[in-house]
């Protein structure tokens, strides 16, 4: 309770000096730089590559897409590719692998809320929109590069294994497929930024991907719901990927599905920006 007090020491401390010149302020020898998006990008790049969850999610993604892809490739014959692109073996891995990108997308932002890092981040960069922009860009570039690499690798392997002439060029499916799963990840990032909770955001995203794939089976049972069921069937994520990989060329090659995902993602990003500035952290 009764702490010995050193009042004399207190009063004799150099305090009078400091108080005599309250205007003198410390000047740092480090040169001043005006921060911009480039700094935020460098920071987010360091962040994403310095946590283990990135290595795990991308590692599992590569394992699924390339591993399953190669297994499928060696079990197919050259005749299988007369009407479809060589990248088709990657489709099966992507159906599962997209969940890895969703998880990473969510974690990029929600792990900061979960650990409290976000307060440190926003103290260092009070321009919150800049932080979110940098996260979106860095994540999209990483996700797109990794998924394009994985799909391309499967395509290369398959074409070298079955060195017949495929009826369809496969470059388009590499870009579209990578774009689709990367956009799903970006959507997950935006959802993570709005919900601020890893488990909640991942569950939400699994719902977004899986419910439209499962629900149509039940909706088709009733006549009044049939149209909704058909639309869901047409636009759900697995079906969109199937069209991108030209499993079913009669009804388009996934352009409208990709456009829908881009629209939804843009809306989610707009929501994330709006909430970001308004809320306390």
């Amino acid at each position: 309770m009764s702490t010995p007090q050193p009042p004399t020491h207190q009063q004799a401390a150099p305090a009078p000096n400091w108080q005599a010149a309250p205007g003198t302020s410390y000047v740092s020898p480090i040169p001043i730089t005006r921060t911009h998006l480039g700094h935020a990008l460098a920071s987010e790049w360091t962040k994403i590559k310095s946590v283990r969850s990135t290595m795990w999610t991308l590692g599992v993604f590569l394992l699924l897409v390339v591993g399953v892809g190669l297994l499928v490739a060696v079990n197919t014959t050259t005749e299988d590719y007369t009407e479809v692109p060589y990248t088709i073996p990657a489709f099966f891995g992507l159906i599962l692998g997209q969940i890895c990108l969703i998880t990473l997308g969510v974690l990029v932002v929600s792990s900061e809320y979960g650990t409290g890092m976000i307060r440190t981040t926003f103290t260092a960069s009070p321009q919150r929109y800049r932080v979110l922009t940098a996260k979106l860009i860095i994540f999209f570039v990483v996700a797109f590069a990794v998924s394009a690499f994985a799909i391309g690798l499967v395509g290369l392997f398959t074409s070298s294994l079955h060195d017949g002439e495929s009826g369809t060029p496969w470059g388009r499916s590499v870009l579209m497929g990578a774009l689709y799963v990367s956009l799903l990840g970006v959507l997950a990032l935006a959802v993570g930024s709005m919900l601020r909770h890893s488990a909640g955001a991942i569950t939400t995203m699994l719902g977004v991907v899986l419910v439209p794939a499962i629900l149509p089976a039940f909706l088709m049972l009733s006549d009044s719901m049939r149209t909704i069921g058909e639309k869901m069937m047409e636009y759900n994520a697995p079906n969109a990927l199937a069209r991108i990989f030209e499993l079913d060329t009669d009804s388009g090659t996934g352009g409208s599905q990709l456009a829908l995902l881009a629209g939804v993602t843009a809306a989610a990003i707009a929501g994330a920006y709006a909430l970001l500035e308004k809320r306390d952290v």
Binding site: T3, Q11, Y26, S28, T35, T46, V51, G116, P126
Partner: protein, 356 residues
């Protein structure tokens, strides 16, 4: 320089911070004191633009925090020792912060060295002890070599060596002309580090004063005397015009006289003394007395309809008026039955004050 003007934060019905106005000046350590839940952390988060104030304004050298182009150069803040991603190494944690402000990479090694974490720079932060986490947080605050430093309860959970280190660090930072703003709920800690004191309770400003003034006005010094010839001693003191107050255990307490004088007086009359010691009431008790209003008010709030109501009776509101607080508190009748007993020591201290 940090200026707060009518800063207010309301969570639903609860006023976390209620119209705070004060200035944190450069070149000194300003202590930000208040009991738990007084609104210290909320105030600091609003200063850093993390929480949006309900009303009022905070300016850092005349600018809003989110307008700062080089925030880490301006303010280094330690809010929470665990505000970092546990899976990232200490070096990478600091590196991503440095990069976001365009601070050269070499600076990371410098601050790691300053806080003594160089040997664990590549270790994951989640393996760090509380003290190490605190040091890493401080390294982050020092990263931009800022002119303003803000620490929220920096000594919490630290060992004596760590506490000593932080005290000296804060003093040396202020001596370089930086603004240092540090919160605590320990008056004794502030007495050792702070030059200026801002006290809040229940989100309201209770005191804004220099440490020296606070000590002068709040620490009652007296001399304790113990003698087998108690009656004679009382007579002699009375004869010399010295008022002695009987304290428990056969001791006498004398206010306003030097121990040397009392000793000589006793010797002159051949009185045997068993004890002759100058005493000082602790600042901790003065602080508790000052904030007792708000703590008591807090206990009441469950029975009051509008807990956000302004002007609790008897709350010393305006800065400058606080000096009367303790005496006022001591002369007040004991609280209503539903209020908890006052903190031990505060009442006895208060009655001492009155007698003195």
């Amino acid at each position: 320089m940090i200026e707060l003007e009518g800063l207010t934060k309301r969570y639903g019905e609860k006023m976390a911070v209620n119209h705070l106005t004060f200035t944190v000046r450069p070149g000194i350590v300003t202590g930000f004191l208040g009991p738990n839940g007084a609104g210290k952390s909320t105030t600091m988060r609003m200063m850093l633009g993390l929480d949006r104030p309900t009303a009022g304004d905070v300016r850092i050298d005349g600018q809003h925090y989110d307008r700062l182009k080089d925030p880490l150069r301006y303010i280094g803040a330690l809010l929470d020792a665990k505000a970092m991603h546990g899976g990232r190494s200490a070096f990478n944690h600091l590196l991503c912060l440095a990069q976001s402000n365009g601070i050269p990479r070499g600076r990371v090694d410098e601050v790691l060295d300053t806080v003594g974490l160089t040997s664990v720079a590549r270790k994951k932060a989640k393996g760090f002890s509380l003290g190490m986490g605190q040091r890493l947080g401080i390294a982050g605050a020092l990263l931009g070599d800022p002119r303003i430093l803000m620490f929220d309860e920096p000594v919490n959970g630290l060992d004596p060596e760590g506490i000593h280190w932080i005290r000296n660090l804060m003093k040396s930072l202020a001596a370089q002309g930086r603004t240092v703003f540090v919160s605590s709920h320990l008056m004794s800690e502030m007495a050792l580090t702070a030059d200026h004191l801002v006290v809040i309770g229940q989100g309201r400003l209770l005191a804004d004063t220099s440490m020296a003034d606070f000590i002068r006005q709040n620490s009652r010094s007296y001399v304790r005397l113990r003698s087998p010839q108690r009656e004679r001693l009382l007579d002699v003191l009375h004869g010399a015009g010295v008022t002695a107050v009987e304290a428990g255990g056969g001791t006498l307490e004398v206010d306003g006289s030097k121990s040397e004088y009392l000793g000589e007086l006793a010797a002159e009359h051949g009185i045997v003394l068993h004890e002759l010691s100058p005493q000082q009431a602790s600042l901790e008790e003065a602080f508790m007395q000052l904030t007792a209003e708000s703590v008591e008010y807090h206990a009441h709030s469950g029975t009051v309809d509008d807990p956000g109501a302004d002007g609790a009776p008897g709350a010393p509101g305006a800065p400058g008026a606080w000096g009367t607080g303790p005496a006022e508190g001591a002369s007040r009748p004991p609280g209503p039955p539903q209020s908890p007993p006052p903190p031990p020591g505060s009442s006895s201290w208060g009655s001492d004050w009155k007698k003195g």
